[in-house]
């Protein structure tokens, strides 16, 4: 979040995605037809932040959302919030897992663009959005509740079907978004030459895709 490296447009995208993660928590936990497991859409927001904005902007968006929640805004699904969810709650680990997850999804997505083939993209999203998040969340639950790891894992597995659906949705959404709105994730160094043609002052110029009256 240093002043020198993020453009005003980056800041606006970070703020909007932090707000999006919050807005996706508003409906609260909801059941998906056949599957009688409560899922919240908030992790969908986390996966989307990585897959749409990339590692850096996505990470800041998630961090910003978490900071606001820790500060006492009731932004977690179901109107929860406050410091307890980050420190002493058995589910605290999942929230830190989001930070790792968004980094992994964002990094791998930037390697897969511009083609973004379905199966590798799904693999990247599952690795970041499920494996990494559980990798931090499950041991923390086990530690706080003095449960064996397998016990915490069984407890966590009830969220697995919902998370799998969210990973698929994330990939399908990211595919359409990157096609409609190219250039969201800066290319790696290898291709900087091609991006140098964009004007340096284009911090907030509307993109060609903008639907307004130009």
């Amino acid at each position: 979040m240093t002043a020198r490296t993020l453009t005003v447009r980056d800041l606006a995208q970070i703020a909007i995605f932090a707000a999006l993660i919050a807005a996706l928590g508003v409906p609260g936990p909801l059941s998906l037809g056949v599957i009688a497991v409560p899922i919240t859409l908030q992790t969908l927001g986390v996966m989307l932040a990585g897959a749409v904005l990339g590692a850096r902007k996505g990470f800041f968006a998630v961090l910003l959302f978490l900071a606001l929640t820790a500060a006492g805004l009731p932004l977690l699904a179901g109107g929860r919030g406050g410091l307890a969810w980050f420190t002493t709650s058995p589910s605290a680990g999942y929230l830190y897992g989001w930070l790792l997850g968004v980094l992994v999804i964002g990094y791998l997505t930037s390697r897969l663009l511009p083609k973004y083939p379905f199966w590798p993209a799904l693999g990247a999203t599952v690795l970041g959005g499920i494996v990494m998040i559980y990798a931090i969340g499950v041991p923390v639950t086990a530690f706080t509740l003095h449960l064996p790891i397998w016990g915490a894992l069984v407890d966590a597995s009830k969220f697995l079907p919902g998370d799998a659906i969210k990973a698929v949705v994330t990939v399908l959404v990211a595919r359409q978004v990157h096609r409609a709105y190219p250039g969201l994730i800066p290319r790696r160094r290898a291709v900087t030459a091609s991006s140098a043609t964009s004007t340096p002052t284009s911090t907030a110029t509307p993109t060609p895709a903008r639907a307004s009256d130009e």
């Binding site: 807005a23 910003l64 820790a70 359409q176």
Partner: protein, 197 residues
């Protein structure tokens, strides 16, 4: 920016944020090392006594502490089967005490005060993190939450009007695309209004 804050003028409300945060951390560590059930009971009694001192309404307190009780309802029997009732009770007591302490902090500190506290904690790192810019970003995000919530509501309504319910994809694509357009427009407004640093 009221959030979960429970307004009041008690000693806990007036105490400096970072001092409260330090005491909270020390308190969590303290209950973490208590080894005897009676010690934990005393600690729980002290913490419970702080709630009336802070004048927190029971409903607000319950909203914060309630969820942990549901988790304990499942975790305590499992723990008891695995290692006996005393360790299970100790675990439950420690967790309850820690959550109650953290909740007390949240209930007696305004969001603004916590964010200012965060900023002060960031000051020593201003070589890497621009605390003013972080504050600005927080404010912009708070502005964006109702904006994005409105986008979500509008997309949900449009979906209902067209009778295409159920598909998460039909919700997520327009929400993300419209949010990105909104981000562009806000970026443009920020530049027009003098944020080019």
């Amino acid at each position: 920016m009221i959030g979960l804050y429970s307004p009041g003028h008690s000693l806990l409300h007036r105490a400096p944020t970072l001092l409260k945060l330090a005491v909270l951390s020390a308190g969590v560590l303290w209950v973490g090392i208590l080894g005897e059930p009676w010690q934990l009971l005393v600690a729980l009694g002290i913490i419970a006594g702080l709630y009336p001192v802070a004048g927190v309404p029971p409903r607000a307190a319950w909203q914060q502490i309630g969820p942990i009780l549901w988790i304990l309802l499942i975790a305590v029997p499992i723990q008891a089967l695995l290692s006996g009732w005393v360790p299970a009770a100790l675990m439950a007591g420690r967790l309850l005490a820690a959550v109650a302490l953290a909740a007390l902090f949240t209930l007696t500190t305004t969001v603004t005060a916590v964010l200012e506290g965060f900023q002060r904690l960031l000051r020593p790192f201003d070589r890497w993190v621009d605390a003013d810019r972080v504050g600005l970003l927080v404010a912009i995000t708070l502005r964006c939450i109702p904006l994005v919530a409105e986008i979500v509501t509008e997309v949900l309504e449009a979906r209902r009007a067209r009778g295409t319910q159920g598909s998460l994809l039909a919700l997520a694509v327009p929400v993300v695309v419209r949010s990105l357009y909104a981000a562009d427009a806000i970026g443009e407004a920020l530049v027009a209004r003098g944020l080019d640093d």
